[in-house]
Symmetry: C2
Subunit: 347 residues, 2 copies
Amino acid sequence: MTDIRKIPPRRPMTLRDVSEASGVSEMTVSRVLRNRGDVSEATRDKVLQAAKELGYVPNKIAGALASSRVNLVAVIIPSLSNMVFPEVLSGITEVLDDTDLQPVVGVTNYLPEREERVLYEMLSWRPSGIIIAGIEHSEASRSMLRSADIPVVEIMDTDGEPVDAVVGISHRAAGRRMAEAIIKQGFEQIGFLGTQMPLDHRARKRFEGFTETLAKAGLEVLDQEFYSGGSALAKGREMTQAILERSPDIDFLYYSNDMIGAGGLLYCLEKGIEIPGRLGLAGFNGVELLQGLPRKLATMDTERRQIGRDAAGIVARRAKGEESEGGQRIVLEPKISWGDTLRRYKP
Amino acid sequence: MTDIRKIPPRRPMTLRDVSEASGVSEMTVSRVLRNRGDVSEATRDKVLQAAKELGYVPNKIAGALASSRVNLVAVIIPSLSNMVFPEVLSGITEVLDDTDLQPVVGVTNYLPEREERVLYEMLSWRPSGIIIAGIEHSEASRSMLRSADIPVVEIMDTDGEPVDAVVGISHRAAGRRMAEAIIKQGFEQIGFLGTQMPLDHRARKRFEGFTETLAKAGLEVLDQEFYSGGSALAKGREMTQAILERSPDIDFLYYSNDMIGAGGLLYCLEKGIEIPGRLGLAGFNGVELLQGLPRKLATMDTERRQIGRDAAGIVARRAKGEESEGGQRIVLEPKISWGDTLRRYKP
DNA sequence: ATGAAAGCGCTAACAA
DNA sequence: TTGTTAGCGCTTTCAT
């Protein structure tokens, strides 16, 4: 055995170190470490042994440069505090775990300029694919996405022109469908509660689909409340109180997400408001949290994990060289989860 | 103007392309793009112009290899679905945003083997620093951390021997302190509800500190419930029901996290159990969600954002070459948030 | 089954 | 202020 000193190295090990320690050429060491090409058992063992003893960690930077292959998949999302995105991520991870691809996450805080920066930064590492939330991007971002020449999957939203592939739901249709359900249940005095986010295109589209369908039935949104920042649950309470005091005739509240919806639900239960007889409620997303509430809030499940899985699947398959050209389009159908706050008439 | 074809390139641009398009040497182009060294306004403009028209995105892989500088900070956490970690991340991002460092997130799912893999994978990209949750790691992981020769900050937990720097709280002390508070309020029949996770060392340590202090007062945990998977809120309900039915004498429930605590609280309120007169409750973490509940659950704020900020600060300063040697130790003091479910006697 | 040479796209160090 | 020359640590390709 070569004399291996236990002193922690000031300079990371290189292939050459392993090569010298094992008496095998760098090239063969490289082959062993990557399980490529034929190597005899004997040399293989020698190399592995030396690598282990030295605590060798390969330098992917050098490897990537030499092979122009990078096992990274850039995932760009607006936020981590909205549980929706961790769930997408978990779907992505689930699929990528079976490949040698690795997700790298960037967060934009819903800001297009930040999206540009994050995208640029990530592209400069030459990832094997990009999964990016939303279908609305700045011209600069779209241009980067187009010329990156790697699979690009835009997720969550399918209302618009994707750069390449897209996986998600139609938020406009989601808004429409919820409006239909509400109308069918005989609600007529409808309030809307949402986030104060001009840049949340998905919420905007839902709202558009929602009002559009109401309009066709001769209805409109009576009153609205918006919030930004703070505990969504608490905000849901406050907004619900505010809107009900201002517009006491309201008989339905449509929330743009489940957290504020849950807050509203808790508030109404405390106040003894009869639900859904006197007042109907619905949220959006289908978050797990709803399972633990005193009553089940109506919502629409957006299958985030599945979106993540599908998106990762597309990237993985294309990275492997399968599937000739891009442009897949997977539109999931969100289903209304009726819960206990939307159905007035027995089905 | 050079003849620039609008055809999306099959091969990413290189410095050389920009050099040729602008008639400036590669070296000078490189200088312009990195704002390094003196470059005349004229050449600078030429280069920037060409780079922009070509849609040039630098290749950080090559840059990193040449300069042996990587602006990545590896952040290794057990989970993204536990809101605690996104919050830490947001503290990290907050600080790194003012530097040129970029966080890269890896998730271990609380599995030591996965931690090893993720760590190995990340180290192979030669990051400028590592922020890793927890202070308990496999021998292989510790060994990698030690020999990486970059700043390593272990976060969340300070009970143990860190490899290098550490930022967090003492979970043992947190458990002790909560036990003291409970005892002082005159509770004596105490139940504990937690996760079925032998690998959640922090929860274990809190429990140890908790029982230790109870023991000194001649008390012990009367009954316990554990869960794994599913909606924490719903589980909190179920477990609370179960433990109260089994041990009706219990007058205090200590939950190992706020989500199950919140579920328990909702359950108790529905059942009309007098809180905290008949039954006291406390959770752990201080999550935002608690703000929206009908009553404020007692908890202990663990200042996750601050932990993230401090950890990132250490990495950033050391990456800049400040601070000679490592080993910082920042122990934050978690404070009891009394809420409405712990205090029987007016203060 | 193994090795030698060339070069991936950049930047450090030096020269002009 | 600008350019030239060597690599950075690997992998590709081609020999042996």
